[in-house]
């Protein structure tokens, strides 16, 4: 395989891995920018995967070919509502946000598997009949090299993830909503005195993180796993959290970090076929993605500044 071909197979593969992380990390960016730590991303993905699969299995007859799209949409809605639990606990009840996030992770897996047992009478669902399929974009895929790299064998959801990252960037840095969101995460009391409803902003942000986490989980389920079980989401949410921090709480940073993970992961697999890497023992390739991340952080990413009031409940009228 020539270099171009190798790249042509690595890029879509990396994006398959990255897309669910991008969605979820964008959710994390919303939540953390508003000042709410979201360690529950894993649980939100679990919920998304569960809902996406169950909806697809149940309503395939109704929605036909559109089912995957409807499913991820429904997964978004349900996960957003599920995230309300985190919102109520950490915003209204002033719970420690880390604690609440950990509970979200337990709860999502518990509910998902419990209901799977109730509804399917077994520990995992069937496989969905018609998941998302990767496609070649007509015309564009015919462009030499670029077409092969960027327009063949991608999922529509991967494009959606990239587009969404830019949308989120626009929302957070260009719109009044974004300005207010950031102010709430930096200095909630200042926001409050400017007439911004701090609680409402934070609720919205946490629910957005639920929606996006659900999107990430359902996209993973409907592109990669194809069913739901205890082993569908195992650590992807934590990788997404890592992408949020790695990306310095910036939507495009998170995008970059998730793609970085995707590439590192692909490289660990495709590497065995690359001339330079083929003699490297398997174990080094296996741990490479994680070691590379640490090296990248230590080497040139370094200190990242979190939103100032991240993790602190806002108590109106206190100082």
């Amino acid at each position: 395989m020539g270099f171009i071909d190798i790249i042509a197979s690595i890029i879509p593969a990396a994006m398959v891995y990255a897309a669910p992380l991008i969605f979820t990390a964008l959710g994390g960016v919303f939540s953390e920018r508003s000042g709410i730590i979201n360690i529950g991303l894993e649980g939100l993905m679990v919920m998304g995967a569960f809902v996406g699969i169950v909806f697809h299995l149940t309503f395939y007859d109704t929605f036909g070919a559109a089912t995957p799209w409807v499913s991820i949409f429904v997964a978004m809605i349900v996960s957003a509502l599920f995230a309300l639990v985190h919102a109520v606990a950490s915003i209204t009840f002033r719970a420690d946000q880390v604690v609440s996030g950990v509970a979200i992770n337990f709860l999502a897996l518990g509910i998902g598997l419990f209901l799977t047992k109730q509804w399917y009478d077994k520990g995992q669902t069937d496989m969905v009949a018609r998941p998302f399929y990767a496609t070649d974009i007509p015309l564009l895929s015919k462009i030499p090299i670029l077409g092969e790299w960027f327009f063949s064998g991608w999922y529509m959801t991967s494009y959606l993830a990239i587009i969404l990252a830019f949308v989120v960037w626009f929302v957070i840095f260009k719109t009044p909503f974004g300005l207010r969101l950031r102010s709430v995460g930096e200095h909630p009391m200042a926001a409050d005195t400017n007439g911004i409803k701090v609680y409402r902003m934070r609720y919205i942000a946490v629910m957005l993180s639920g929606a996006l986490g659900g999107l990430g989980g359902s996209v993973y389920a409907l592109t990669v796993a194809l069913n739901f079980s205890h082993s569908t989401i195992v650590g992807q949410g934590f990788m997404a959290l890592a992408a949020v921090i790695f990306g310095k709480w910036h939507p495009l940073g998170a995008l970059g970090a998730a793609i970085f993970f995707g590439f590192a992961q692909s490289l660990s697999i495709f590497g065995s076929g690359l001339p330079l890497l083929e003699d490297v023992p398997q174990i080094f390739l296996l741990i490479a993605p994680y070691v590379l991340t640490i090296l990248a952080l230590a080497g040139f990413i370094g200190r990242a500044e979190a939103p100032k009031s991240l993790g602190e409940p806002y108590i109106k009228g206190s100082r």
């Binding site: 606990a89 604690v99 509970a103 709860l107 934590f238 790695f246 990242a304």
Partner: protein, 349 residues
């Protein structure tokens, strides 16, 4: 006064557990199970006879240590999500020492335990030093270190400790925490002397944090790094130390599995969850030594008891996951319980 602050602090976890169990009962009712049967099965599964009591205590042992690990780091302001990986390397190290030497027990066992603590400590040292020197966020590094631990441990089991096997040899009896006496008292449960190690470590954590100057520094750095620096403490050193100690606790949790429960290390297809559960244990225990012990006890009980629910009452074990999550929520939302108490108090007057 009807409820003193202290009383409320003690009552909150109890109320949370009760509320969590109540919610679980409601869920069982909704799905057509008999909650009384369900909880009876849970109880029997955890304490039904001395065998199950033994198993419950056995499960509590690593939870205490992984809980202490998370709690210790949190007290210094660090979120150690890497306990899972530290458990792995601790387990591996303890077994490696356990199978590789032929020594009298009085040396062999402590050596194996020490190896686990050191391995865990080293695994904590890396995120610690990166945080202290370069300001790299410990959460990402510890997440990454988990995967590295998993893959490296598997590789070492496969290629260093064995010749391509999935499982190491059994550790020498001289390195084992297992106890004929405890086993025979509990109908062959795997309860082992590790419980004593775990409880002792809880004591150590309490003592170090609350009674020593080092603990004073660690807590101070946890609350306010600037003031600590101003007061002449070395912030970086304390961060590294906190991660090292936290990792050592986690490594010991691994030793409990390696030297106590299993007696070997095998190739793992995924995480053990001892470390991740440790996060919940620590948080439930309010990051305090005694709290962690109690929370670990609760966790162990629920986890072991849950295994009996499907066979005895037909209730899926996942119900317990839900109950645990709800308990954590209720504890976390203690503000609202406190608030309700104050209202109650006011109106009671």
């Amino acid at each position: 006064m009807l409820f003193s602050n202290r009383m409320i602090n003690i009552l909150i976890p109890i109320i949370s557990v009760v509320l969590g169990l109540l919610s679980g009962a409601i869920i069982m009712l909704v799905f057509g199970y008999n909650p009384i049967e369900g909880y009876a099965a849970l109880w029997n599964g955890a304490f039904g006879d001395s065998y199950f009591l033994g198993e419950t205590l056995r499960q509590v042992t690593p939870y205490i240590l992984s809980g202490l690990a998370v709690a210790f780091a949190l007290r210094t302001g660090l979120l150690n999500i890497g306990v899972e990986g530290q458990v792995f390397v601790g387990w591996l190290a303890s077994v490696a020492v356990g199978i590789s030497f032929d020594l009298p027990m009085i040396i062999h066992l402590p050596l194996a335990i020490l190896a686990a603590a050191l391995a865990g400590a080293f695994w904590g040292f890396i995120p610690g030093i990166l945080k202290a020197k370069l300001g790299v966020h410990e959460v990402i590094v510890t997440i990454m270190m988990n995967y590295i631990a998993l893959y490296i441990s598997n590789d070492i089991v496969r290629n260093v400790l064995t010749d391509g096997e999935d499982r190491t040899a059994e550790i020498a009896p001289s390195a084992s925490l297992a106890s004929e006496w405890l086993a025979s008292m509990t109908y062959f449960s795997r309860l082992h002397y590790g419980l004593i190690v775990a409880l002792f470590m809880a004591l150590v954590m309490w003592f170090v944090l609350n009674k020593t100057t080092r603990g004073f520094e660690l807590r101070s750095v946890g609350f306010n790094q600037n003031a600590s620096k101003y007061a002449g403490m070395s912030v970086g050193k304390n961060i590294v130390l906190a991660m090292v100690i936290s990792g050592a606790f986690a490594g010991l949790a691994g030793a409990m599995e390696g030297l106590g429960t299993f007696g070997y290390m095998n190739v793992k297809s995924g995480f053990t969850n001892i470390g991740f559960d440790g996060i919940a244990v620590a948080l439930l225990g309010a990051n305090m030594a005694l709290g962690v012990v109690l929370a670990a006890f609760l966790f162990g009980t629920l986890k072991i008891g849950a295994l009996n629910m499907p066979t005895e009452a037909g209730v899926p074990t996942e119900l317990v996951e839900i109950v645990i999550a709800l308990i954590i929520f209720f504890v976390a939302s203690s503000y609202i319980i406190r608030w309700a108490f104050l209202r109650f108090k006011k109106e009671g007057k």
